[in-house]
């Protein structure tokens, strides 16, 4: 049973990664990253039931990681809003003024 959960999480991680690296819309990129973090949480919770030495620690771990994810996305959106206000873009492929 554990394998199924792990595979679910692996698929979510890879889909999230694909989204983060292929979508042009900055908000969706952030959302895809949330998906990757969520996949890690699925992993952790699955391990806390089926892993070696199951315990509630995993729950605590994923609780923390959810909080962190929320904080990260809040800052990310704030930066995006600032960037949009100054440059008027939200397309990540157009963010290339720094290339050399």
């Amino acid at each position: 049973m554990l394998n199924s959960y792990l595979l679910l999480s692996a698929s979510l991680f890879c889909i999230g990664l694909y989204g983060a690296l292929s979508k042009k819309n900055a908000v969706i990129v952030l959302l895809s990253i949330e998906l990757m973090l969520n996949a890690a949480n699925v992993n952790i919770i699955a391990f806390s039931k089926y892993g070696i030495n199951p315990s509630l620690t995993g729950h605590v771990f994923s609780l923390f990681s959810m909080t962190v994810a929320a904080a990260e996305v809040a800052v990310g959106i704030a930066i995006l809003i600032m960037l949009y206000r100054n440059r008027g873009i939200s397309d990540v492929t157009k963010m290339d003024v720094l290339k050399k």
Binding site: G51, I52, F61, N86, R87
Partner: protein
């Protein structure tokens, strides 16, 4: 084996507690700070908090006997941890001092928050040095990362800076996701969040788990390499370095790197998993080999691409990528003493050179390498000190930079990794060239950019501290080495 924290234990956490309380108090003070008063007061308070915290650390070190372990071995107070924390505090203090003269209102509208934010970042790094628990490590890392995302974004009216901040947070979050995913595997196989227990359990696992152990390492490596700015995970660094405020850049270059080194220093022992008892082969040996390869790529890419740069901060970004390579080398030879020495050397020369850059770019209003031209004729003292810092970065003898690299090389040759030693020597030879380019620029009279340069007093003090220490600890490394080796 107690899993609770008692009031008495708080004494062992005084340095961190100091910062914790300072963050709360100073950020509240910042809210009620008089509108027209200078925000430098916040900076001074921050500096005081950092120094008090460092004072507690030194006190703690003097009275330290062995290892203090709290909360079921998840929080450790030990010699090298204290050294790392002192380095972090030293670095942040220098950066705060540098900022007094360097940060201008038109650049950063929220100077008070700027100073406040440096503290949680330092706190995150300090916690990582003490933590043997992956949850605490992760939270410490994120505290550091999120603070630095905000720090990079503080230059609000600067579109390049906005863009760099967004790139930094997106890439940084992806790196965090990789780290978290890798940690989840470690947690699953180790059955605990405590690194010692994970290490013990991993060793007893049967060989079918080995692939997963490898994968957990490589997942961590992505995040680790990213935040250390080691190639091929370095690509963000030139952009963020060139766009962020210079004191923040020196923060990223020094403190973030130091924190990541602590992070990996904690994780590496987990991988002492025997593969083949006959050949004395462990997963650790593969891990080390991987680190060596990453180190080699970083040194080559960093030093060579730096040759092509015209923007000072991009040049220094690549130089810091190359330095990430040197750090990886010493990390993989498992010599904490040398790591600390080179870390201090790197801290001094990097913060010193960024202090110079911040004064020059504020005066010239651009970052082209030509800001250095004719410096010797407009500001001779600054120029001479810059030369010393650059010589140290290049690893010319009689500077800390040379001794640091010399120690690293001794270690590499001792473990008979000659190819890595060769790459290290050759690539640092290449680095001479771009550092000398800057030096030569400074002694060109005709092309002088500035008529006069005003280096703010605090910036000058920072530069002077860095230069004097760089020279002093090269001539008398004994003082530092005996402190590092103190038992």
């Amino acid at each position: 084996m107690d899993t609770r924290l008692f009031a008495a234990d708080l004494l062992d956490m005084l340095p961190e507690l100091t910062l914790f309380i300072a963050i709360i108090i100073i950020s509240l003070l910042d809210l009620f700070w008089p509108k027209n008063a200078s925000k430098k007061g916040i900076g001074v308070l921050t500096l005081i908090a950092l120094i008090v915290s460092a004072g507690f650390l030194i006190y703690q070190r003097i009275h330290l006997d062995g290892v203090i372990s709290l909360l079921n071995d998840s929080y450790l107070v030990y010699h090298y941890g204290i050294l790392f924390k002192l380095i972090v505090l030293l670095g942040v203090s220098l950066i705060v001092m540098m900022s007094f003269g360097a940060i201008r209102d038109k650049d950063i509208p929220h100077i008070g928050e700027y100073y406040v934010l440096l503290m949680p970042a330092a706190l995150g790094a300090m916690i990582m040095a003490s933590s043997a628990d992956i949850i605490t490590l992760f939270i410490g890392l994120e505290l550091l990362s999120i603070s630095s995302y905000i720090l990079v974004a503080l230059r609000k009216h600067h579109t390049k800076s906005n863009e760099a901040a967004f790139k930094y947070i997106v890439l940084g979050s992806i790196a965090s996701a990789f780290i978290l995913y890798g940690m989840s595997f470690l947690y699953g196989m180790g059955g605990s969040t405590n690194l010692f227990q994970i290490g013990a359990t991993l060793q007893s696992l049967e060989s079918s788990f080995h692939p997963m152990i490898y994968v957990s390492f490589f997942l961590l490596l992505v995040g680790f390499g990213f935040k250390l700015a080691a190639a091929p995970f370095h690509t963000w660094a030139p952009e963020v370095y060139s766009a962020a405020p210079t004191p923040v850049v020196s923060f990223l270059a020094v403190i973030s790197k130091a924190a990541m080194l602590i992070f990996m220093f904690m994780f590496l022992p987990v991988y002492f998993v025997p593969l083949d008892p006959v050949q004395n082969l462990t997963i650790y040996s593969d891990v080390v080999l991987t680190l060596h390869v990453v180190a080699a790529i970083s040194m080559i890419v960093g030093n060579i691409v730096a040759l092509m740069q015209k923007n000072v901060k991009r040049l220094l970004a690549f130089s810091s990528i190359a330095n990430a390579g040197y750090f990886l080398v010493v990390l993989s030879t498992d010599r904490p003493g040398e790591l600390v020495y080179y870390l201090v050397a790197y801290l001094l020369m990097t913060i010193g050179i960024f202090a110079v850059v911040t004064a020059l770019e504020n005066s010239a209003e651009h970052q082209d390498i030509s800001i250095f031209s004719g410096l010797y004729f407009t500001a001779p003292v600054t120029a001479v000190m810059t030369v010393i810092l650059l010589l140290s970065l290049a690893g010319i003898p009689l500077t800390m930079g040379f001794l640091g690299k010399f120690f690293i090389l001794l270690g590499v040759i001792q473990v008979k990794t000659y190819w890595l030693a060769a790459i290290m020597i050759v690539s640092s030879v290449i680095s001479f060239y771009y550092y000398f380019r800057i030096i030569r620029l400074m002694f060109m009279r005709s092309h002088s950019e500035h008529t006069t340069i005003k280096v703010p007093v605090t910036t000058m003090i920072v530069i002077a501290i860095c230069v004097v220490a760089t020279i002093f600890f090269a001539f008398f490394p004994q003082y530092m080495l005996s402190f590092i080796e103190w038992t």
